[in-house]
Amino acid sequence: MTVSNAGVTAPPGRALPDSRKPSGRPAPRTAARGKSLRERDKSGYLFVAPFAVATGLFLLLPTLYGLWMSFTNQSLTGTGSEFIGFANYAEAFSDPQVWQTLWNTVWFTILSTVPLVVVALVMALLVHTGLPGQWVWRMSFFAPYLLTSAVVSSLSSWLFQPDIGLLDTWLAGLGLGPVGWLTDENVAMFSIAAVTVWWTVGFNFLLYLAALQGIPAQQYEAATIDGAGGWRRLFSITLPQLRPITLVILVLQLLASLKVFDQIYLLTAGGPNGSTRPILEYVYDTGFTNYRLGYASAISYVFFALILVFTLVRLLPSKKEA
């Protein structure tokens, strides 16, 4: 993925004319960037305008509008709304549902993140051995990522179907009773986490695979000459080199898992007995089922604060590593 110098090659035995010779060293950035030619370029505004307008309208405006809404008792039914100060926030902090759904969200994040990193790593290490069937392995592990949440939930609820589903049929074959995959409060979240691992692990797998392909072969060769066996190479060369990408994957995954909504809403609608309802679904239910837009906005912002704190805390140590 490098930018070639527009295919300037010299015919053999003839040097290029000076003006077209690709310079051997990179141009001094500071001088070349900006100053003379770019300085006079006033069309930057035109280029940035569409993106700036879209961002203003569909990101900044709703951010501020939502913030203002969270201080009102606005309803979806559209009658007027009045400013009620911090009443929504006071309610949110004393609302057991907020804490329950926040905990459900965190619990889901804990359950899903670890296998999403570990399984992805195992898959990538196995595929990176270069064993035959590369295309098949990549396809099988990544394909579920391409399915939309509605398809994922259709397929998995069919597997989890009581009595006639594949899993319960197998259990019956082993002489075991059916399991309430999505109906038992102690099991449902585990089932959802398993489905999520199946669905999205492919992305992390590809990130790991790319990182593995970036490890220079010379290191392995040197280790082989020194007589290091396969396992030894795995633990002293491969895994240490994967530390930075693991951190990236972990953070991306945590942030993604915290925003869970689709598969839970479609598989259990937050049940049984609210045991799997994530906070985003509570926002949705409050705003679009109970019409309390103001309160829904307040819950959104409580949730946003949590994500923001998480993001900033994680940005602090990363400065040291860079």
Partner: protein, 303 residues
């Protein structure tokens, strides 16, 4: 390039790849045949596990409805049938939703790539007042999870009269600050001499953008486009909120509404899941290499 040349080219590439893979095997797991067999067995088991839900759905979709409701079997005793597919295609809005998804995903992709590339170009190659502030805002908005904006955004769409319109589904999805930064990094790497030379030759900024910067960045633009397309095609939450009329629903939203309507019609349920899954799987088969590369270069997640 003639067909024969293409085939020959393919063949040398395949041979090269095979040699590379063999070398890789030597490097990573060494000469031991046992380790090799063990790794291969692990791969087979994992891949089998990962393909199982889709395979099971596919088998079910070719069963008769009466048989699908019997205890699970991998081989339909009542015979294979495509009845479920016929039913689904003739009785539901599946094809309309698919068309809607295509329109939405294409519009989102074209608009996102276009405005992101333009903004990235402005940040990378031009200087204007307020550029620093705008860049800072763009970075800040990367941290904004779109999901928490659903309530105010829906309100905005009501005011703008965009509920149940394509514009309402598409427009909020075209803001992708992450993409702007990925593209800007790439544009920064274009040799400055090349651009300066073009400027000296009298190329205006627009020509610079269209005839030099974009063609040079084809690979990254395609990678970004594929990702935006997959995201838009599969997006559920926003289209689900902003559409109430089945005529405007995208595939994921439409599917979620009929899932309950089918009740115990498992074969039909699986048939519609299979139809919905097909387009992107085909896209993946066509662009596998690019997608794998794209994940590596763009490396952004999201569920």
């Amino acid at each position: 390039m003639s067909v024969a040349e293409l085939v020959a080219d393919r063949r040398t590439k395949a041979l090269q790849e095979r040699a590379e893979n063999r070398a890789l095997t030597k490097l990573t797991i060494g000469p031991s045949p046992w380790v090799r067999v063990g790794a291969l067995a692990a791969l087979v088991v994992l891949a089998g596990l990962w393909l199982l839900p889709v395979a099971w759905g596919a088998v079910t979709s070719f069963k008769q409805e009466a048989e699908a409701a019997l205890p699970a079997s991998w081989w339909p005793t009542m015979g294979w049938t495509a009845d479920a597919y016929r039913q689904v295609l003739s009785n539901s809005d599946l094809l309309i939703w698919m068309g809607n998804s295509l329109v939405v995903a294409v519009l989102v992709t074209v608009l996102t790539v276009l405005i992101s590339a333009m903004a990235a170009f402005a940040f990378s190659q031009t200087i204007f007042k307020g550029r620093g502030l705008l860049q800072w805002l763009t970075v800040a908005s990367i941290m904004m999870p779109g999901q928490i904006l659903i309530v105010p955004l829906f309100r905005q769409m009501q005011v703008m009269g965009l509920v149940d319109t394509f514009a309402g589904i598409v427009l909020p999805q075209i803001v992708a600050p992450v993409m702007v930064f990925i593209l800007k990094r790439f544009f920064d790497a274009i040799p400055q001499e090349l651009l300066d030379a073009a400027r000296i030759d009298g190329a205006g900024t627009f020509r610079l953008f269209w005839t030099i910067v974009l063609p040079l960045s084809r690979s990254i633009l395609v990678a970004v486009a594929i990702f935006v397309f997959i995201g838009a095609w599969n997006n559920f939450l926003w289209p689900f909120i902003v559409t109430t009329d089945p005529q405007f629903m995208t595939l994921p939203v439409g599917l979620s509404t009929v899932k309950n309507a089918y009740g115990v019609q498992y074969a039909q349920n699986m048939a519609s899941a299979m139809i919905a899954a097909l387009p992107l799987l085909v896209v993946f088969m066509l662009f596998q290499r690019r997608i794998v590369q794209g994940v590596a270069t763009t490396g952004m997640g999201g569920q």
